[in-house]
Structure formats: structure tokens, C-alpha cells
Amino acid sequence: MLGEFEYLLITSAARLGDDAYGASIRQEIEAATERTCSIGALYTTLDRLESKGLVKTWMSDATPQRGGRAKRMVRVTAKGIAAASEFYESVMRVSRGVSWETGR
């Protein structure tokens, strides 16, 4: 099963769609978790997910906003979507009835 950070990464990439790349995924994760996301953790996790076939990455063209440097684009595969769904359903199942889920 996916790890917590792997789920955050896949979910952010799925939400961003065609605009999913290193910096944008990092912004999404930081906005959701309200914590700093390190580039080291992001890129090593991307490699791990790609080796498992859960995402596909490729280098895009350079852009002037990035000092003329290329982006590492990310696309979630069908296998990645299935893994993320499984993680989400597991969290929902285990969280049923707990105090922070019911708001007590």
C-alpha cells in the first residue's frame, strides 16, 4: 500500500492534471499540509513511484520564469489512480466513527 507522502504526491498530481510538475506539486502539498515540502523528499518519492509504475515523468521545455530551466512533468498512471483510491478507501474505513471524523 502507498505511504502517506506518496498519497499526497499522487493526489496533488492527479488534481493538477496537465500542469503537474515538481514546483506545482510541491505548492499543492504545502498548501494542503501547511508544512514545508523538501525537494529531496519530492524527487526521491517521484522516482520510487515511477519505478512502481504509479506515475510517469518526463522533462519538458525550458521556460523563462524558471531561469531557462526545464520542468519535470508528472502524469499519474491508471495503476497510480487505483493505488491512491485503495489508500483513500482504507483511511475512510479505519476512520469511521472516530471522534475527529464525527466531529465530537
Binding site: 515538481g22 505548492q27 525537494i39 529531496g40 523528499a41 522533462m59 524558471r66
Partner: protein
């Protein structure tokens, strides 16, 4: 100050693969990270990448086999050669005051000592070059760390053995650096060159054992033979790899 850290970030990023360097520096530029934070992010990424490389056994063999064992043996042999050079150097500097017949009677003529010293020095050079080449091949991406550790090992040994100088290992540096440089530019050493190198090392080893009287045995002789065996494993490894993996033909 921020410019300095931005420059530092660029230098740290050079330790990454080119594509990842592009992506990471671009991401940091897009998110307008300060030089300090960018440097910290990049250091974290470099540390993670380096840690991944150590999951393989090759860098560990380089660390233990070359940095620790061969590094120590090379240092000891360099000291041995340095000691062997003292007598000819003394004879040359005091030649006018020495009776040549006394030198001849004791077999200490320059015509005998200089070739012996030359063989010792050539053998040290061959071993050092081979050690540098194999260190780079085994270390791969960890060459910076393993190379630094080898240098630190020699600095420590110089200080610990009280050689009188912290730079006793300096003669080892040029051949080792040359071997490392050659390894980073060539995938595999050509078989003919590997055989030539191995043959040279074996020939020089036999000659130095004979010239040094090491074949007579005794504790000193046995120690030197053990040292020769330990110093020769990188050449055996290099020959084995050259036989198993001939260089690819470029079209």
C-alpha cells in the same frame, strides 16, 4: 550574502544528474526560494541521492578495499620507497667526501641503488594509478566521498605515524588522480592495456622482490610480500572486468 548562497546552491546542484539539476534549480527559481533555503533543499536532495548509491555493494568495496586497505598499504610502501631513496640521496650529496671503494665493497654504488629505486618508484606509481582507476570505477557517484576519505586517510596516517611531515603521501596523489581521471573518461580499460598494466606490475614485483632481497624471507620479507599481494588486488579486478566487459565499439 544571498548571492553567495545562490552561488553555493549552484555548486551543490552540480553533484546531481544534469536533468535533475535542471528541474530542481528551476523549481527553486520558480518558487523564489532564498539562497539559504535553496542550498538546504539541494543539500537534502544530494544527501538522499548519495545515500541511495550506498545501497549497492560497489561503493562499500571501494571504501573498505581501496580507501582503507590499499590506501594504508600504499602509504606504507610510499614510506618504504622514501626510506630507500635516502641512501642514494645521501651518497649524491656527499659524493666528494666518500671513498668509492667502501661503497663498492658494501654494494652501495649508485649503479645498483638507482635502478632499484627506479623499480620501487615505478611499481608504486603503477599500484597508485590502478588503485585510483578501480576506486573511481567501484565508487561511481560516490567518488567524491570515497576520494575525500582516501585523502583524509593519508593525512591521518601522516600525522599518526609521525613521519615529520603531513605531506608524506604527496607522491601518491598524481598517479591516483590520473587513474581516477582516466576511469571517469573511459568505460572500461581496453584488454590489451589491462594485460600490459598487469604484466608490468607482475614484472616489477618480481624484480623488486629479487633486487630487495625479499625472497630471502624473514619477518620483513614476509611483511613486504603480504603488502605486495594486498596492493595487487585492484589490478586483478581491473583485468577481470576488462576480460568480462570489453569496451563497446563506437560507430
Amino acid at each position: 550574502m544571498n548571492r553567495m548562497f545562490a552561488w553555493a546552491a549552484e555548486q551543490i546542484a552540480r553533484l546531481l544528474e544534469p536533468a535533475e539539476r535542471e528541474a530542481a534549480l528551476g523549481d527553486l527559481a520558480e518558487s523564489h526560494e532564498s539562497g539559504v533555503r535553496a542550498s538546504c533543499h539541494l543539500l537534502g536532495l544530494v544527501a538522499r541521492r548519495q545515500a541511495e548509491l550506498w545501497k549497492d555493494w560497489h561503493p562499500w568495496l571501494a571504501l573498505i578495499g581501496i580507501v582503507a586497505i590499499v590506501g594504508l598499504m600504499l602509504f606504507k610502501y610510499a614510506r618504504f620507497v622514501s626510506t630507500a631513496a635516502e641512501l642514494p640521496a645521501w651518497i649524491i650529496s656527499n659524493y666528494r667526501d666518500i671513498d668509492p671503494s667502501i661503497l663498492e665493497q658494501n654494494g652501495m654504488t649508485l649503479t645498483l641503488l638507482i635502478p632499484k629505486l627506479l623499480c620501487f618508484t615505478l611499481l608504486l606509481g603503477c599500484w597508485s594509478w590502478t588503485a585510483g582507476f578501480v576506486l573511481a570505477k567501484l565508487s561511481g557517484g560516490t567518488i567524491w566521498l570515497n576520494g575525500s576519505l582516501l585523502l583524509l586517510n593519508w593525512v591521518f596516517l601522516s600525522a599518526w605515524t609521525q613521519t615529520g611531515s603531513l605531506t608524506a603521501f604527496l607522491p601518491l596523489l598524481p598517479p591516483v588522480c590520473w587513474g581516477i581521471r582516466h576511469a571517469t573518461r573511459h568505460e572500461v580499460l581496453q584488454l590489451s592495456r589491462a594485460i600490459l598494466l598487469a604484466g608490468t606490475i607482475v614484472s616489477l614485483t618480481v624484480v623488486t622482490i629479487w633486487l630487495g632481497g625479499i625472497w630471502r624471507g624473514g619477518p620483513w620479507g614476509m611483511w613486504l610480500i603480504q603488502l605486495y599481494v594486498l596492493l595487487s588486488w585492484p589490478a586483478v579486478y581491473l583485468l577481470g572486468v576488462s576480460i568480462r566487459r570489453p569496451p563497446t565499439v563506437r560507430r
